[in-house]
Amino acid sequence: MTLVDRTARAAAVATRRPPARPPATRDSLLSYGLISGYAVLTLAFGLLPALYAVYLAFTDATGGFAGLANFTKAVGDFRFWPAVSHVALYLIIWLVALVLLVTVLAVIVHAIRVRWLSRTLRFVFYLPGALAGASSVLLWLFVLDPTASPVGGLLRLFGFDSFVQVILPGNLPVIFAVIAFWTGAGGWIVIMYGALNNISAEVIEAARVDGANAVQIAWRIQLPMLRKWIAYMSMMSLAAGTQLFVEPQLLSQASNAVVPNDYSLNQLAYQYAFQQNDFNTAAAISLLLLVVALALSAVFVTRGGLFERE
């Protein structure tokens, strides 16, 4: 909203002063109605459980105040730091790949002038994302088993002759990053494509007149103008990535626990809650995750200028 807009609005309000609070019109009633569903659900399934988790994290099994005991127990657990490093490694690989590949692919698809080709590509990119999380992991269980995989030859080429060799601990961060990229990147490519469409044709035209080639346009015009979108994508993906759960959990069951059932932090929290009957420590781990994700998101928000207004 520009300054001119605002002054004009203020003037308009000033002229129809008399009714101090305008009576609720049908429009605003409707908007309250529409928003209420969201508000109630957020409250019931977002905010209240989060508050309950805060309560649990600082109490013991009998409800007494526990101070930081749950946190020290979680951090002292022999599985905690390995889980942290697993998730961190996975996040680094995945986020870097996501930012680089999604941006490059979006710019390329956007540059394609053949309409049907561009449309088909966007559809193909998006397709894997249409599979729900768990079912796409199930699909990967087959892809990763050299004896059942449609790309078994490729796996054997890399020296993987059996499923166990594929899912060795060292390979897992890459595997999870590939699965996450495969399921998630398409949606982001479509969004980036939309963002590229929003860059005014005049700007691109002006650059072209000044003699910039496609690469220079991408690097000097499109990329800087996508900055906010990239920051947004990184932030959302980071939040999703720190909560890594479905992929290792399913792979763990499918491999009869060769992939450990405490690979990620969320799994560790799950172990505490549902195996060790210790909801308090589980809540402490989820709070730690929240704090870390918030802190990292803050970095993306400030560095990416997400809340800056033009």
Binding site: A44, R79, G133, V190, N256, A257
Partner: protein, 454 residues
């Protein structure tokens, strides 16, 4: 919305749903009836009994037959059958669900079947001050005569501090399965000791490469090879204490034997439940130490090795030279009665039926019955099927020679093995050098589950 944020909101929604459900149930629990349990006649607190109350029974898919057989034999006892995963494959759903019922203080099933052997370890204990789930069965609820008829040692995984908390459905004693046709063709002798077994493995590697004499790819490898070798990896000494020493000579000898056999290709690191195993080794399994249920699950299974009738033989588990043969055990189901049941009588009748009655254990059960009299009849029936190339005496003897030095704690030895040892074997590391690492992993896991480790 794109997938990542959708996934995120789904995840938080799920977490949230769980949280609210717990909250709601907790609140509901506060308003529940106040007819609390009273000290019972059977050695645990029980609620007011109602002989007419229907009982809820949890079974896995395979045990639906047991419930059906019961309905037919006892139409007068109303039961409601709920199918669940049997807590299999490390899902631990039995424990998870009971803990949630403990929080809400209502909803417990009356009888539960579990595929696991480590449930008595938690079900016999109070949890966060809540009454232990498992009813004590040897305090008068189940007649002593019935308990005495179980194969000696069969109720060990159910027994904590001298109290029996479950009835065993089947035994899973390790025996030596072998292909008699192959042995005859190659002119080999079935090994009676592990030393002979190892020597034969080395011979097979040279004379008939591609044939195998065992596998180490499954999580129960320690139960097949280390339990029978009297390795001190899992000596449960009390409800919350365990002694772990995996560097003893007993552990070393098993590890060193496996190192040789893994290296020469006769004991591959492949799970018997993978397509890879069937593809590579159908028709090439010379012998395989493994639990009694391997017969139906692997050998006589069209989807697996599909060994034709008249070839599969069974020999006693090998002994270590100069020692008496003892063996390990891989699972075997267990039946629990809830201490919260309103109709203990019906729950007891049901549990006794499914573990002891011929209608199920002999006529229908796929595994070797833990109940002695049923086991004898089961063996006769299997022998008369004409499938086996030998008699089944070896299974019967092995059933009574399970080494008692390997206990059933809360934590899963199989999960520890799978995550620490299986990948290391795949990387080509030697088991002998991995033994200390294995010990640390077991100790860590035991401590997390509240055990004192000696």
């Amino acid at each position: 919305m794109v997938r990542s944020s959708r996934a995120r909101s789904t995840r938080s929604l799920l977490t949230a749903l769980g949280g609210v459900a717990v909250l709601a149930l907790a609140l509901a629990g506060c308003g529940g009836d106040d007819s609390g349990p009273t000290a019972g006649a059977y050695g645990f607190p029980q609620v007011a009994q109602d002989d007419k109350a229907p009982i809820t029974v949890w079974v896995d898919a395979d045990r639906v037959k047991a419930a059906d057989a019961f309905k037919k034999a006892h139409p007068e006892v109303p039961i409601e059958v709920v199918t669940y995963d049997g807590s299999a494959n490390g899902s631990n759903s039995f424990r998870t669900k009971i803990q949630l019922f403990d929080r809400t203080q209502s909803g417990w099933p009356d009888v539960v079947f579990s595929t696991q052997n480590n449930d008595a370890a938690w079900a016999s204990q109070q949890s966060n001050g809540k009454q232990a789930f498992a009813a004590v069965l040897n305090g008068g609820l189940v007649p002593q005569e019935t308990l005495d008829n179980f194969t000696p040692g069969a109720l060990n995984p159910c027994t904590v501090d001298g109290k029996v908390h479950c009835l065993r459905n089947d035994l899973a004693q390790v025996v030596l399965w072998y292909n008699k046709a192959l042995f005859d063709r190659f002119g080999y002798q079935v090994p009676g000791t592990w030393e002979e077994y190892r020597a034969l493995g080395e011979k097979v590697a040279g004379e008939h490469p591609g044939h195998i004499i065992g596998t180490v790819g499954d999580a129960w490898t320690p139960e097949v090879f280390f339990w029978g070798s009297k390795c001190q990896a899992n000596e449960i000494t009390g409800p919350k204490s365990v002694t772990v020493n995996t560097t003893t000579p007993q552990c070393q000898r098993a590890a060193s034997m496996l190192d040789t056999l893994i290296k020469n290709g006769t004991t591959p690191n492949v799970s018997v439940f993978t397509p890879e195993f069937v593809q590579k080794y159908a028709g090439k399994v010379l012998m395989m130490p493994g639990p009694a249920w391997y017969a139906g699950a692997i050998f006589n299974n069209p989807q697996s090795l599909n060994v034709p009738a008249g070839q599969l033989g069974v020999a006693p588990p090998p002994a270590w030279q100069g020692e008496e043969a003892v063996t390990g055990n891989v699972g075997g189901g267990t039946w629990f009665v809830s201490s919260h049941s309103k109709n203990l009588k019906a729950a007891r009748i049901f549990t006794e039926f499914v573990t002891t009655a011929d209608d199920y254990q002999v006529a229908l059960a796929p595994g070797y019955p833990a109940y002695g009299p049923a086991a004898e009849k089961w063996v006769t029936k299997q022998e008369s099927s004409g499938y086996y190339a030998t008699d089944l005496k070896a299974i019967v003897t092995a059933g009574t020679s399970i080494w008692p030095g390997w206990g059933s704690g809360i934590f899963s030895q199989e999960a520890v093995w799978a995550k620490t040892m299986t990948p290391a074997i795949a990387e080509g590391k030697s088991l002998v050098t991995l033994l200390p690492e294995w010990q640390t992993a077991i100790k860590n896991q035991a401590q997390v589950d509240g055990y004192t480790v000696g």
